[in-house]
């Protein structure tokens, strides 16, 4: 076995020794990927990982480098970008990605991309 394969095996053993735990955290991430447009919250996501809320947040961050809520926001904003490029209205995008409030969506979108949804949509329609 080459050096690299040995290193992958060594790191896996040392950083992720509990297979069941790894599976549960992955399941919770896949749950977010699939249900991001629904009214999901930390309790529902943590239940997928069979962990208490606070323990789950720590584990998720250890595995993915961000909290479950940050990841959910990233997924929603990435999806919003794709829908905006299809020419949908801000309201349609907002509800399609699971936001119930347009101002909250606009504010988060601007915080994460540096542009308002409308400015992003205009930029994409002008420059492809």
């Amino acid at each position: 076995m080459a050096f690299y394969n040995n290193e992958v095996a060594r790191l896996t053993k040392s950083l992720y020794p509990h297979d069941d735990l790894t599976k549960h955290i992955i399941q919770s991430k896949l749950y977010i990927d699939k249900h991001f447009s629904e009214n999901i919250n930390l309790d529902k996501i943590a239940a997928k990982a069979h962990a208490s809320k606070f323990h789950f947040i720590r584990l998720f961050k250890k595995y993915y480098g961000c909290t479950p809520n940050q990841y959910l926001q990233e997924v929603r904003i990435e999806k919003a970008k794709r829908i905006l490029q299809k020419g949908k209205t801000i309201g349609e995008v907002c509800y399609a990605i699971g936001f119930r409030s347009k101002p909250s969506f606009i504010s988060l979108f601007k915080k994460m991309t540096g542009l308002t949804p409308l400015a992003y949509q205009n930029k994409k329609s002008n420059f492809g």
């Binding site: 050096f3 690299y4 394969n5």
Partner: protein
Amino acid sequence: MDSDYSIPFIIFAETFTFNIICMKVKWISVLVDDQKKALKFYTGILGFIKKTDVPMGEYSWLTVVSKEEPDGAEVVLEPMGFAPAKIYQKALKDAGIPLTMFHVENVQNEFERLEKLGVKFSMKPTQMGPTTLAVFDDTCGNNIQLIQV
């Protein structure tokens, strides 16, 4: 005395702040031993599409992109014009270290598809925490890693 130095510093700091440029990743380079062979493999087997092919003397400025992101980052299939690069490439290859990695939705599916096309894997799909990895030979002197997050 303090004020003598603080004023120019503040001016410099403000100038610097306004001149910050937002860098983007537009190209990544993959060293290849033969550009024609590389283009065939990267498009015909891996599924990238050719983006640019500009003749530049003995070689070309040759890039490919993902079908799903034709305006995304371009992979430059870069000729080995600098002899020590061959030593570097060989050392990575012998150690099984990937030169770079590409993201796929499902490593297992991609592994099965590529294996049927004759691609040789030095590491079959392997779970590493929340990621799944696999490493294949790009036939141009490199190990390339597939990653699913």
